[in-house]
Structures are given as structure tokens and as C-alpha cells.
Symmetry: C2
Subunit: 702 residues, 2 copies
């Protein structure tokens, strides 16, 4: 019904009750540290905050069990979930193993895998997990190693050396021990993390790729969602299943809306301590430029696809990847452009500065940093466009980049190895030569259009007097220039490029190839911009460290440090949130999965594996499949367990909602949600789709 | 998985196919009239456009059958759907009947109704439907009746007189015939619509209110949706079921994504011909002021609710209603604030003006109208704030409004009846006195806060020198003023107000009541502003009519006129649309209904009637429940049939998505969607929830 007034009458008449939701919107509680998020470290858990907000008392035993049950997997998180060494993570985190154990004639990524018995579990080649067994504060030792008054470069070397020494001492040659010094608060603190490494992992179960990633790229980063993004591994020791001292028990009943839940995992990276001036720079320059580049590429790929069926098929995945990045960056930018979020950030920064300036001592030490950071970003703004275009990153067009390497090779190779930049050192020689001489042939249809798109943006962004623009375009239109350059180039093939490099500087200098000539204009200008840029970046990191120290001085341990892909504990609540003019439900179900499958008539990427279609009636469709909670997570948390007050598994993190994308910079409980597979769905699917009752029994044994 | 790059790799590796969706986004076709929407009249169907766009040839027989099968219900649409006179409409459109036939001890609105046999069908008191049996162009006769050079007021009288005469002639005293002259294109044309009226309607079936309106206020105006918003009636003649010559057959298979579908119904009102300057006025002044008032009211209601449990319960529905209006107006405003939409409108207006100015004759007749409309809106802008605050509409505070009526009563009653404004005439005397003397007691807790909120906005919007502001506030804060006025008032009770009116002008003039005194300041100022305003409105409607004539002169019959609650045929396609970072599926299913019910743990307004919970396993959950299509609909279309190329029922319109709210002013195929109950859900529910197989058989008999 669309007439507001009539609807009002209807509602009055029907006497519909108030949805409980209205009262449930989370209120940012009075806790200063929450402004930077809720990614707590295990050495400084916010016990008082948890007690006050959730009436939850975390005992040392509880914390230790939770810490020791969680694991770090390369790029992801995992956890022990049975007394016989079962490990749970995401399908996309176990992907390397699933591919690695696939035998000829199999396609386990597509079709899934269930070991019928322990004997059939397959060893994952090269995979390991790390269990955090101790944290030590080494801040003083790291700081003491840096000479007072050292230049930034020298200081970094001294710091690297002492960190390396600390790590070596800690490992002490034990094969199963790994150590890492983790900088917290951007160098405000250094913590030594010691891990036990388990290196014999075997694949127990993985569902079909299509049910792990149902909805594909369109549904990625969104909720409501319907993915069984799961891999189950088992750790072995001496060829026997491991019996870990700590593991997460399976919750008997799962969770309910409003429940306190913890995520335990390894969030990768955040920039919550960035100042307003830094965020404004990213908002005004960096992201818009990223989007411009991504959209230009998309337009070229789509135009080429539309013009030619063969290209359309070949470019399908490239278009997906770029579109997915475009979606992510749009989300990041959306957060920074949201006046409400930015105003919140501004208010908090102003309160933080106020506290620094309100204390004479703090003011003397830190009072200047915000203005200095703003000054630095101001200088970066003046360099920005030249930094973008005095480069060889011309979207998907490859010849300019190749010309940049070719033009430098003879000069760099003439230097002693240690005097060259990293990428030109002998250790990387093979890789660079492969890229130069043995890459896929240049696709001229894409190359000419992509180059034209790049030059179009350059012409719009740089003034007519700019030397790079002049050299690239002259009086030509971008299309004319691109066509002429492609027409005249002499570096289309690997052999041509090899001959040029082998001809040395003389050949380079004599070359009339338009890309080589353009590269020779760009190179010295790029070096100059890079030098200025590096200087600003070094200055900035010093101020950033001082901001972090000010933060610790003002707020102490109430503040969680930025994510560093180290183990954190992240509190939250299962909770609906406002979306699409209404509320997103806190849980989806298997019924929702089949609803969306039917709604799209099973068209890709909303198709389902045959096993799921044929087992539909065996499932209890009302079983919760995915859920959302207010935990503050970010990439790297993939595969994290979601546990309840009793430390029992109720879910498995695999994504955030679209509103969580600004979480890189700003955390907001109102709409930011972590998205997880519900523990009940895992058991239901194991029992009723995969006939893996024994495995389900092992998970749920108490 | 949240790392974009890793995801990219994953997608590449899995080789997921491209979703067909990407290619399916609708492109606004080359058809000039589409800028004003797709609400076509039956006398000028866009045959050539349908043929070109959909390869669909509408024969005169097809059109006649569709027109004669559709019906108009007060405020809604309905249609004949069986050879025995079954009529289908929405639950909320049949609400009057459902309430009307409810017997003591029953609650049919809540519990639903299914007639076990024809004998148990219950006659709806006072309900009727109108079937459009003929359209005649009477533009010339209407225009001829207006004297050249008549003042706007005189012209309106002459026009009303001739329209009245035409309608009377047409009806010619036949009880079953109704006639209406419908102004099209804001008076650019006048069409005589002749209807056959059916007045014996009986209730056959209505589902439970909660399944008709599942998701309540939060889900209202949104999609994905899960409502069985249905009433089934039957028309009788001579106490026998009617056998209509025309009715919609039921589609055997329903629809699929991409299908061409038509909506046949009575869209209420649109302003698609508004100029950019008119829309800017609404965007900049009207809607923001509406929202300010709504939000102030909400804030007061919520504060009072928070402070007092008894109020919380009493205010529940009031809060719902205001929140719902706030949601709607936010949607309307959102469209006008969307730079993409406004830019589109601007481009089209510029094209239209270009065509007018490109023809010397048209230019002479119509070239000035846009500038004149902009001038008029400019003048309205200067009056706007005074028009708002020189009034008695002080949100939910009632005393000022009552004082306004009291202060005028003696003076108005002293005049002859015909010299009074409508509301003070004897015919309305009883109603006005009931409102003045017999209303609910003033709730001082709400009254004082609401008045303070109103005065706060007044103080922010009017300059300190403004006479109304001065009289209301003086040097007091809004809170002080509100408290003092409530303290001193002598018109709190109906008796006090009656005594004052009976005391005549002398008593009014002598009154020291602060509301009466404020009313006496406002009244003459309001009269002056009203006079200026009415003059501008009259001028504007003359220019609006000329714009409509220019439109017809330039585009002819390719343009559909604004909605006028008269029968239209609206083409569209079943189609997904971008939402929430992904795509909304074109269909939901019963599985989706139970998914959302489970996801919210059955909490209101996502609860379900017991009959639905207990019959869940009897239903085929994969049956489509609601669907979306690109048809251009608006309030009044509620209850419209959705029919396929063969004129068969595939759905029942009941709402639009949140993105359709700007449709008042601008139609955009990309995201605007009509929301309907799927015909397959109706049959499935009748058979398997309501045990109404006979009724389902009657509907689907072919």
C-alpha cells in the first residue's frame, strides 16, 4: 500500500504491535577507546568494559582457552574445534589445500570433498597453522636499540636489526616455534608474539565451491547472505590425530538475537588512527583516482567484450575482478563521503586534541602533530597528480610499463648488485626477464583502447604545459596518440625488447620507439617526485608514531590498536540493522538460500550444486544459515570462530556487510556487521547433505 | 572473503560464470514520451512503442477485454477474475468490506475469512466497483464553455458548470451508470469516462491481516517482500453471481524474469510535468519543512514514551504513523536530491524547451512558460516560511489550532452562510463544534513539549522581528513560552471554549488567554499571505495548462498524461534490479517468507498466523510469493492485476520498492519497481493453507 495516510489508518486499525527492533539499535556506549574499534589484544583485554557493557566477567582461564583454541593460517584465521584436532576455517582459506590434494580427474574445488574415514583425510601440501602461546612486551628493548637523533633511515635499520635478533633468540632453533615482533599503535609499542606451529594438516571436508560462494561476486560484501563458506581440516602429530589441550566446544543451541558473541581472529589491517586530514586526502584524491582508473578499465573491457565474442569470454574474469574492486572502493569512499561518519570522526579527533592540549606536558610533546600531518597531506596533494601520471601504471595497457623496465635495464645492470633497487637485483633477475621477454602476447585491441583511456584521463588531469602530457600527446587527441604509438612501436615482442636491452644504453638512446621515448621523459621526473614523496612519507610515519603515543598517554589501554594480522578478541552482539528502508534480519536460513535460488531461477551465480537440490527435502529449511553481529572485523578475520559467553562455537566468520566497507577507517556499530556461517547450518549440512554424521558427531561431542 | 585481491584470485580460479544479470539492466529506450512515465490511457494506447520495444501487437479486442476486466474501487483497483464474477483486489483495499461483514465475536481483519460456499459469501455494505465502458473526448465542449478573457475564477466556474452538465447528460438517470469528466494533461484535454457500476459485492476470502501485511511498517515500501495482500470478492446481480462478459483468465504457469507484463489500474496522482524550478522548490523548501515537522513530532513522541510507560503504549501507533510518513517523504526527497535523477530531468526539460523554441509558432505560444513558472516559484519562496508559521498547524500541539477556530467563530457565524468559508458553513457546523467542544482531553505532557518543538523551529526559521514570532516568544525561550502559555491558558476544556464562543466577539476581544491572543495576531497576517499565495497558485495553474498543451503540440500522443485516478495500462518487464551492493531477486517465495519469519524469531511485525505455521509443510515453499517488474505505478494502483501478453493474470499489485518513492515526480526504469503478489502464490495458499480448493479451481478454470 503506497498512500502514506491510508497506511497509517491501516496500521492503527490492525493494531500491529511495535517491533521490538526499535529499541534494539545499539548505542555507542560511553567508552573512549571504542572510537578506534574493538580489536582487543589478549595481553590487555578490556575486562572492565566487558563487565560494564555485557555483565561479562572474562576469567584468565577463559581467555587462555579462547586464545589457545584460535589459530593463524596464512592470510586467514582458523580454530581447533574437536579433541581430535579438527580445525575449522573458510572454504576460501582452505582453498590452497583443496587444490593441493586434488587428484587427476577430480575437481574438488567445484565438487567438494568429504573424507569417508580418517584414513581418507588428505595431507595439505605446505599448509600450517600457528597457535599463539605467549606475548611479551619488548618495546623498551626495541626503542633502546635506536640511537638518539638517528635519521629515519638509520633508525629503521637499527629497529629491524634488534627485532630480527629478538625473533631469533625467541625461536631458538626449535622447528615448531615461530616468533614475530608485532608493532602495535604504529610503533607506539612492540610486542613479541610466540607461536606453536602445526605443519601436518589434512583435508577432512570442503563443500562445493558454488555453495561456499553462493551469489558470487554480486553477493560478495553483502548481507542477507547464504554461503556455507567452510573447510574442515585435521591437525596430525606423528601421523596421529592431534589432541589439543585447548579447543572450542560446539554450542548445543547456537545463538539468538541480542546474544553477546566474541570473534577470535587475525584482522589484517586498519587505519583507525588516521587523522581527519589524512582521511580527507584519501577521500578527495586517492579513492576518486582509484575509481576513475577502475571505471576506465571496466569501460574498455566492456566495450571490447561487446565488440567481440572471443574477447567477451576471455575478459569475463578480468571484468569480474575489476568490478569487485570497484565495488569495494566505492564502499570505502562511501564511508568517507558520509557526512555523519566524517563528522563523528571529526568530533572525536577534536576531543582527543582537546585532551592533549589540556595537559601542558602532553601539549608540548604532541600538540603539533595534527597540524604537521595536515601540512604533509597538503604537500602530498600538490604532488598527487604527477605521482599518478609520472609512472608506468597505464591501467591494463602494458607497453608503457615494459618500456619503463627496458629503458632502465642497461643502466641498472651496469651498477653493482647492492646499489640497484630491489627489483633489479640479481635475485630477481629471472623474474624480471620472464616478465619482459616471455609474457603473453600484447593484445592490440585492448592495448590501444586502454592506452587511449589512460591518456584521456591524463589529458583531463594534467595541464597542457606538463612535460609528460606534452611528450605523450603533443597536439594529438588521446585516441590519435594511442593509435600512432601502437602503429610505430618496435617493442611488441619479447625478442624486440631483449634485443633492445642487449644493445645497452646506446640502443636505448638511439631507439625511436614511442614508448621508450616517453619512458625516457618520465623516468627522471618520476625519480624527482619519488624522492619528495618518500621524504613526506618518512615524516608522516614519525608523526603517526607520536599520535599513537599521545593516544596511549590520553586513553591508555582502553584503546584497541589498529589491526596488524595478529590475534585479537572482538566483542559484539547478534543484531539486526537498518537496510533497504527496513531491517536486515539477524539470521538467514536454508529456506532463504532456496528462496534466492528460486528467485533467480537458479541462474548463475545463484545456481546450486546438484547434491543440494536433491537433498533439499532432507534439510530442516528453518535452520539458520548465516548471521550478523556487531563485532568489529576486517579482512584476515576470515575463518575466525564466533563464540558465546561459554567459549563455544556459534559461527564462522567469512565476510562483512556492504556497510562495513568503511571499516578500514571508521568503525560504526549502527550498521557495520560481521557476517558468519551459523554453527547449526554446519551440522545440519554435514548430517543431511553430506551424509557425514560421524564428522558432525565429532564436532558436537561435549 | 573481504580482501579484494584474494577474492579476485578466487573468482578466477573457480571460473564462476558471468551472471546473466549484467546484460539485463534496462536501457531507457528511444521514446520521447517515456520521460513522463508509462501510464497510458485506453483511448490512446502506444501501439507503435509496444510493437517496437516488445514486439507486442495489441489488438482492439485484446485492449477491450483488458479494459472491461479491470475495475475501480474507492481508492484502489480491482478486476474480474472468473466467469462467475470473482473479483480480486488487495487486502487493504477490501478492508472496509472485511470490517463491515464482521459479526459480533469475530475479528476477520486479524483472523481472515473463507466462505465455505457461495451461500456463505457476505455482502459488503456500501461497496461498489466501476467498470470503464467508454471514453469520449469533450475537450472542445469544455473549452468552448469558457468565455474568452474570463478571470481565472470565472473560468473555473464556467468549466465546472459545463463538466457537471456533461456528466449529468451522460448518466441520464441510470442507476448503474456513472460518468466523470477527467482532465488530462492538467487541463490540456478533457475526457468523459463512462462506467458501469456493480453495487452488490460479497466477501469470498481474505487472509489474516498479518500475512497480508507481513513485515508491517518496516517492510512497507520495500522489496524483497513477502505479503499475501489479497481480498477476493464476488459481484452479484439479481442475487445471482454475475457472469461478466469480460474477465481475466488465470495464467497456467505464471511469469518468468524478462516477461512483458501489463498493469491495468487507476494510478492516483503524479507530477511528472512539474518543471525543474517547481521540483527545486519542493526539494529545497517543502519536503525539508515536512521532514523537520515530522522529525520534531517523532522526537517529542519518543521522549514522552521514554519518560512514561503509559504514554509509550498509547503513542505506539502515532509514532508508527509519523515514522512511516517520515520514511515516505525521505524517499520522495531522496529522488529530488539524487543529482543523477535531477540531471536527467533537467536534460529532458532543456530538450523540450529547445523544441518549443525551435518552432516560431510554438515559441510565441509557449516560450515564456518556464521562466514564468520559475518566477512564480521564486515568489513562493519568499512567502514560504510565513505561510508555514502564519498558520495553526502546530504539529501535535492542539491548543493553538483550537484557539484559531474559537477566535474566528463569532465573526464567521455573524455572516450569511454563503459568505462564510466552506468549513464554517452550517452544513459543517456539527463537525466543527464536535471538534471544538467534544474532542479528547488535552494531554499536557505532550502539548507542552510539542508546542516547544514547534516554537523552536519557528524561532530558527523566522527573524526576530517577525510579528508572529514576537507575539509567540517575546524574549522567552521556546520552552519557557510553551510552559507559560500552558500555565495561563483558559481554553483547556471544551466547556471553556464553548463559553468563549458563546460570549461572541466581545469575549474573544477581552480574552487574556495566550493562545487566543496569539491567534488574533496570526489571523490577519495569515489572510494576507493566503491572498498572495492563492494568486500565485492560480497563475501557476494557467501556466501548467499551457505547458501541457506545449507537450501535446511537441510530442503528441507519445506522452502519457499524469495520473488522475483513472484507468491506465502500464507496460513493463519482470526484472531484478541493483540493491544493497548486489541484485534484488525478481521473485521471492514462500521459503523467503519463512526465512524472514525465522530470521527474526517470529517477533512482530514478522510474526505469522498459527494457520500458516501449522500448514508450512503442506506448502510448496518454492512457489513464487511476490515479484517485481518495471511497470510505472503509484498509489491507487493497489489491487491492479498484472497480466501477460495473453491478458492472463500473473500477479496482483500491492506496493512499490523504496526506490520507487521518487516516482511522484520522476520515473526511472533502472531501479523503480512495482511489487506484486504472484498469481501462483494465491492458488497455492488457497489450496494448501485455506483448504479452498473449490475457489482455486474457479480461479484457474480456463
Amino acid at each position: 500500500m503506497r498512500f502514506t495516510k491510508s497506511l497509517f489508518t491501516l496500521v492503527l486499525a490492525l493494531g500491529l504491535a511495535v517491533p521490538a527492533a526499535r529499541a534494539q539499535e545499539p548505542v555507542q556506549p560511553e567508552y573512549p577507546g571504542l572510537e578506534t574499534g574493538k580489536m582487543w589484544t589478549f595481553d590487555v583485554p578490556p575486562l572492565e568494559y566487558w563487565a560494564r557493557r555485557y555483565n561479562f566477567q572474562a576469567t584468565p582461564q577463559w581467555l587462555e582457552n579462547v586464545r589457545m583454541s584460535a589459530l593463524r593460517l596464512p592470510g586467514c584465521t582458523a580454530s581447533f574445534v574437536s579433541s581430535n584436532g579438527l580445525i575449522m576455517t573458510n572454504h576460501h582459506c582452505g582453498r590452497g589445500c583443496t587444490v593441493g590434494v586434488t587428484r587427476p580427474g577430480e575437481d574438488l574445488l567445484t565438487n567438494g570433498f568429504v573424507a569417508a574415514s580418517q584414513a581418507e583425510e588428505r595431507a595439505c601440501p605446505g599448509l600450517y597453522v600457528d597457535q599463539l602461546i605467549g606475548i611479551t612486551d619488548v618495546t623498551d628493548r626495541v626503542n633502546a636499540a635506536v640511537t638518539a637523533g638517528a635519521t629515519p633511515g638509520r633508525a629503521a635499520e637499527q629497529r629491524d636489526a634488534v627485532i630480527s635478533a629478538i625473533q631469533q633468540e625467541c625461536t631458538a632453533g626449535q622447528a615448531t616455534t615461530t616468533c614475530q615482533v608485532v608493532p602495535m599503535y604504529r610503533g607506539g609499542q612492540y610486542k613479541l608474539y610466540r607461536f606453536h606451529r602445526y605443519s601436518d594438516l589434512r583435508l577432512v571436508m570442503a563443500p562445493e565451491g558454488q555453495v561456499a560462494f553462493f551469489g558470487g561476486d554480486p553477493d560478495n560484501f553483502t548481507f542477507p547472505r547464504h554461503d556455507l563458506d567452510l573447510t574442515i581440516l585435521r591437525a596430525y602429530e606423528n601421523n596421529q590425530p592431534l589432541h589439543p589441550a585447548n579447543y572450542f566446544r560446539w554450542s548445543a543451541n547456537g545463538s539468538s538475537e541480542g546474544d553477546l558473541v566474541f570473534v577470535v581472529g587475525n584482522p589484517g589491517s586498519t587505519g583507525r588512527l588516521y587523522t581527519v586530514s589524512q582521511l580527507e586526502y584519501i577521500r578527495d584524491l586517492q579513492y576518486p583516482m582509484n575509481l576513475k582508473a577502475l571505471r576506465s578499465q571496466l569501460a574498455v573491457y566492456r566495450a571490447v567484450s561487446a565488440a567481440d565474442a572471443q574477447h567477451a569470454s576471455a575478459l569475463r574474469n578480468a571484468i569480474f575482478g575489476v568490478a569487485n574492486s570497484e565495488k569495494a572502493v566505492t564502499g570505502y569512499l562511501g564511508g568517507l563521503q558520509d557526512p555523519r561518519l566524517m563528522e563523528h570522526k571529526r568530533a572525536w579527533e577534536s576531543e582527543f586534541r582537546g585532551r592533549v592540549n589540556g595537559d601542558a606536558n602532553l601539549r608540548r610533546q604532541y600538540g603539533d602533530v595534527w597540524d604537521n600531518l595536515a601540512r604533509i597531506r597538503g604537500q602530498m596533494r600538490t604532488l598527487f597528480l604527477r605521482r599518478v601520471y609520472y609512472s608506468f601504471n597505464s591501467y591494463g595497457a602494458r607497453l608503457l610499463g615494459l618500456a619503463g623496465v627496458v629503458a632502465q635495464m642497461p643502466g641498472q645492470l651496469a651498477k653493482p648488485d647492492s646499489a640497484r633497487p630491489q627489483e633489479f637485483r640479481d635475485a630477481n633477475r629471472q623474474r624480471i626477464e620472464r616478465g619482459l621477454y616471455a609474457g603473453a602476447p600484447i593484445d592490440t585491441m585492448i592495448e590501444v583502447r586502454m592506452l587511449a583511456a589512460y591518456l584521456t584521463n591524463m589529458a583531463a588531469d594534467l595541464p597542457a604545459t606538463d612535460p609528460v602530457r606534452r611528450a605523450a600527446l603533443g597536439a594529438r587527441t588521446p585516441e590519435e596518440a594511442a593509435a600512432a604509438m601502437l602503429q610505430a612501436t618496435q617493442i611488441m615482442t619479447g625478442d624486440q625488447r631483449r634485443a633492445l636491452v642487449q644493445g645497452g644504453d646506446a640502443a636505448i638512446n638511439a631507439s625511436t620507439d614511442p614508448f621508450i621515448r616517453l619512458a625516457k621523459v618520465i623516468l627522471p621526473l618520476q625519480r624527482d617526485i619519488d624522492r619528495q614523496w618518500t621524504d613526506l612519507v618518512n615524516q608522516e610515519s614519525q608523526y603517526a608514531e607520536r599520535i599513537a603515543r599521545a593516544l596511549l598517554a590520553v586513553y591508555g589501554n582502553t584503546v584497541s590498536p589498529d589491526a596488524t594480522f595478529s590475534l585479537r578478541i572482538q566483542d559484539g552482539q547478534v543484531l539486526r540493522y537498518p537496510y533497504n528502508g527496513t531491517y536486515a534480519q539477524p539470521y538467514t536460513t536454508f529456506a532463504g538460500l532456496f528462496d534466492r535460488w528460486t528467485g533467480f531461477s537458479g541462474r548463475s551465480p545463484w545456481d546450486l550444486p546438484e547434491r543440494w537440490i536433491s537433498h533439499r527435502d532432507s534439510l530442516n529449511l528453518m535452520t539458520p544459515l548465516n548471521g550478523v553481529s556487531t563485532n568489529d572485523i576486517i579482512g584476515g578475520n576470515s575463518g575466525s570462530p564466533v563464540v558465546n559467553r561459554d567459549g563455544e562455537v556459534v559461527g564462522l566468520i567469512f565476510d562483512g556487510n556492504i556497510e562495513s566497507l568503511p571499516g578500514n577507517w571508521l568503525y560504526e556499530e549502527r550498521v557495520n556487521r560481521a557476517v558468519w556461517v551459523d554453527s547449526r547450518a554446519i551440522v545440519e549440512a554435514l548430517r543431511h547433505v553430506y551424509s557425514a554424521g560421524t564428522l558432525a558427531d565429532e564436532l558436537t561431542r561435549r
